[in-house]
Structures are given as C-alpha cells and as structure tokens.
Symmetry: none
Subunit: 162 residues, 2 copies
C-alpha cells in the first residue's frame, strides 16, 4: 500500500508539473505556438528575449529564408534593413512594427506586414503580450539583413497608431 | 493515510482527464485558424472543398505569392507543378503531400515541406481531419502553377509512409 501510494504521488507530481507547464505557457503568453520556441537571438541585435526557429535555410533553389520568432513581452529587434525586403506573418499575440519615419503599427494574429527593400524597420512584442511571427525573406541572392542601432524606450513607447 | 491516498488518486484522475481533454481539443475537434476561411477553390483544380485566403499578391518587389488553404477532411488538390517550386507550412490539422514517384507523406502542424521547381505533386487533408497550410511561391517571375489531372482515390488512399 505504501509503495502504491508513493508511486501514485510520484506520478501525480509528474503530471502536475506537465500540466502546470502547459497551463503556465498558455496562460502567461496566451499564445498558440506552431513551432518550437527555438534559440535565443543574439543580444547585440535584440532588446529583451527573442527566440528564433529557422524553418527554411537559404539555398539557390528557392532563394528564400523563412523562420519563426517568439518575442517575449517587451522584447524587440534593433532597427535593421533587408536588401530584398521582408514579409511578416503574425500567427499569435500582439506586437509592434515600425518603418522609419512612419507611425508605429500595432500588429496581431492574422496580420501580414510588408517592409520594402532597404527600408529601416523594427518589430517586436507589446509590453504585456508576446508576439509569434513568421518572417519570409525573398530574393536572398541580394543578401539577408543589415543590423543597426537598438530601438530606444522612447521609440518603443511612442503613441500607438494602427 | 487511506483518505490521503484516495484524495491523491482522485486529484490524479482529474488531472489526467484535464490533460486528455486538452489534447483531444487540439488534435481532433477544432483546428486553430489564423486567417479567415477564404474562398472556395475552383472545382476543376480540387477534389472536395479547399478554401483559399490570399495573403501576399504577386508583384515585382518581392516576387513571392503567399496564401493559406483550409482543406476540409478528404479534400485535396489536383496534381500540379510550380516553375520555381513551393514551400508548404502546416499550421494545424493532418494531411498528405506526395511528390510523383515518391511515397505519400503524412503532414501535420509545424511541418515544413519543400517541392522543387517543375516537380509534380499534390497536397490535401487526411480523410478524418482537415488541414490548414500556408503556401509560399518564390521567384514568381518564372510563373505560379500548372494544374494537371485529379488525384485518384487509389492515389489518395495509398499506404501511409512518413
């Protein structure tokens, strides 16, 4: 009986942990993840934690790079440009996208954002809710990305314009 | 001790049920849609109902077409080719992808599938569960798609090979 009890408690602990982890992930971010969380982005290119999962590597057949980024609440990229532009597809959460000289946009699940070639932009999560976004980089024969300066708190907190 | 044991078992049962219910919800009952259902695909190119939502239209800046298809259970495309190939990203559900001369693959949430240029393929849902998939067509300066014959029931029902 004692052995059975200990086994039951151990199993219970295991299940509880598993469920809480699931719940915690769902409740905290309230995001529906399609891909693994991925690898932490380089600190010199991001403010806060941005996790990247590579989905399609560059090659000469498709000349297209695709990946998924999970931005934790408050996290954002530095300003950067892409020589052939970038398409963002938001799969869950709430975040921001800004093209230099234009108002900051709020972006959310189902939105499709285009940033033209060699145009300065940044993207990231809102302060309270994370962001799950896929990125598509076309025409990679011209290059991938040029990283620039961090987005300041003042830029990040600028008035929301949709 | 006995009461504690019974309480533990009851709690265990509750947790187990909760986890299974969550799983059941995700896997079977409802697919997690990111985009609107879209417009019904042309009957001459599909068997069953396939709903298309255009996400990125063709242009000379990105030369990339992106969209989302919801295949109802049992629905599938005809055989077809793409002059620059196609990338499929499965966002929910279960389906099939087959390249001519190769075994049919089972595809599911999180899978990324590549079909090379001018290679004959088809894709669609499993008989019991629908499929939500995004498609990315690169290098559209070479064209978009060439539609061919329907996938026969024999081809559709061929042995599952993952």
């Amino acid at each position: 009986m004692k052995t059975l009890f200990i086994t039951a408690i151990a199993y219970l602990a295991l299940l509880t942990t598993s469920c809480i982890e699931n719940k915690s992930e769902n409740n905290k971010t309230e995001l529906e993840a399609i891909f693994p969380k991925g690898e932490l982005g380089a600190a010199e290119n991001f403010t806060g934690n941005a996790w990247n999962t590579a989905l399609v590597a560059n090659d000469s057949t498709y000349n297209t790079v695709i990946g998924n980024v999970y931005f934790e609440p408050g996290a954002r990229s530095n300003w950067h440009t892409h020589p052939s532009g970038q398409i963002l597809i938001i799969t869950d959460g709430v975040g921001y996208h800004q093209i230099k000289g234009q108002p900051r946009q709020t972006i959310k699940k189902g939105d499709v954002i285009k940033c033209p070639p060699n145009v300065l932009h940044w993207h990231g999560a809102s302060p309270d809710t994370g962001l799950l976004q896929m990125y598509i980089l076309p025409k990679t024969e011209k290059g991938i990305v040029q990283w620039l300066q961090p987005v300041t708190d003042e830029e990040y907190n600028s008035t929301i314009k949709k």
